[in-house]
Assembly symmetry: C2
Amino acid sequence: MKIRKTLESVTPYVAGKTRAGAVKLSSNENPLGPSPRALNAITREMNHLHRYPDGRAELLIDALAEHFDLKRECFIAGNGSDEIFALIAGTYLEEGQEVVTADSTFSEYNFSGLLFGGHVKKVPLKEGRFDTEGLLNAVNDKTSLVFIANPNNPTGTILRCSEIRSFMERLPREVILVLDEAYGEFVTHPDFCPGRDLVMEFPNLIVTRTFSKIYGLAGLRLGYAMGHPTLVQEIFRSKQAFNVNLLAQKAGAEALKDHEFIERTLTLCREGREYLYKALDKEGFFYYPSEANFICIRVVKDSKKVFDYFLNKGMAIRPLASFGLNDWIRYTIGTEEQNREFISILSSLKSAEI
Amino acid sequence: MKIRKTLESVTPYVAGKTRAGAVKLSSNENPLGPSPRALNAITREMNHLHRYPDGRAELLIDALAEHFDLKRECFIAGNGSDEIFALIAGTYLEEGQEVVTADSTFSEYNFSGLLFGGHVKKVPLKEGRFDTEGLLNAVNDKTSLVFIANPNNPTGTILRCSEIRSFMERLPREVILVLDEAYGEFVTHPDFCPGRDLVMEFPNLIVTRTFSKIYGLAGLRLGYAMGHPTLVQEIFRSKQAFNVNLLAQKAGAEALKDHEFIERTLTLCREGREYLYKALDKEGFFYYPSEANFICIRVVKDSKKVFDYFLNKGMAIRPLASFGLNDWIRYTIGTEEQNREFISILSSLKSAEI
């Protein structure tokens, strides 16, 4: 049977690999587990699972509107932000139009573009950061969408406030910027400006976030987008009737309020970063200072072999060959003990013959 | 911002409406609640929700392969069968190709076709049943997909074994039949042949099923497709990395084995049907004898007004105007008490001035 032409260049997603018994620090999951308030909501709601979920996720969207102090019409929820990217492409990307993003970034932007028959242009990162000048040069009258991850996965770098603002001012108004803030909650840089503060000013900006990282709910599949109502409301057309499961809706609304858990997560991440920076400096590894819950490290050896080396020692990390960074790895900041173990293995790597 | 041309004709899905306090018998949910074995699995797994789910749902697919005695390569899981329809269209329907289905059937077939830029041809039902002759006449060299619901939603009718087989024998081999068996487990007709028995013989047949109905897990979002491996494996290309949530994967695998719950559900449905047939005959209402967990009844009044009438009396049923059946309603077979209450309201409807 003939598949769609556009899918010929699609290769299935490569997930962070691991094996039974290994400590998994390859997928930027929360080392503290899921939000306890979210788990309580699941326990309360599971007896209603024979019911269809609310197709518009109103309870969750009310909670998001309150959390961000924006109108409810600014939000749409999805089965993970992966689905949100596809919904945006499914709404605004005509077959044959172009998508612009970076080369070393999250692969689902590329996938969403291809799925709806778009051509994806990949602009190289510049010193580990999205190159706004290069992106704008790649935009032409065929461009429909631009994807920027802020912070970027896998480098952990951000675009500063002035950079995002100036980018939006120069981006043609009929081109949409999808600003993926999957790791936005982890940013500590003083010159980060959350997309939330820009969406009402720029009706061609849409910001995506997820419950997979800071809220520890990757397994539940929940992401959302916020933007100007005229931009967001059209996206409902391209979504399936019941795209977000009932437990995700209820758990998500509760997780937003789990301040104690969020604080613990942020503290662990901040302390982990500081420890790791010092240790990496001492061991002599180059890395990008990270605004996210992971660190991108140059190991100067083939990343797939380094992956095997770590796995043999009981730890799964992420080799970055599939991101085009052949001698780099990405480590998810873990618990204190996990971070120490990571540094110990990394240190032994220097003299390892691989 | 300009939306994709194909979406201009898409109107968002209309879910079974209800209101707080009303008994909801409008969405063919399981009146016995969710499968208890599924709930146990959720309780066991919820502490792992910070982990991404298995992107290929292998544990679930192993359970399905065992359940149906087919190879694991014959299966793919989705975020409800709604997603499965979109994945099939996303894999095999080129923009501008045609989709053939019925007029009065589940609306997500039409949606999936439109989402990928297809033209959808709707062949009228014949006495409440899919018209196989009419469908074949509508197929031409632009046709990519045919959707048949067996049993059909909302009429509850089936195509018999010989009809499906003869249809497949006459369908051009480059056209795919999507046979939606969302209600397949409820069929008692002796001449029903499960699509499972045909998929290895016809590599252009794909069968979809769901955990939303007999297993009582509509809120969790879980559906699947089975077909020849050459047909099914390509569909993985068009899916997002982690489309099926962790709890759905684990709960689904357990629900398949919840024989006691399945038996109770089937008994309730069978006894409910018998009671309702007698009562409807006595009250003088025309209906289609149903092979599913609902009954499609001609009320000979405007179905939306009938919906309001029922809701005022505390029960939500499904008006079928949106299916093109203006003076029909669909009632989900409920508990003994709910069925009696339904008949009582229906009886009072005859003399009501609406």
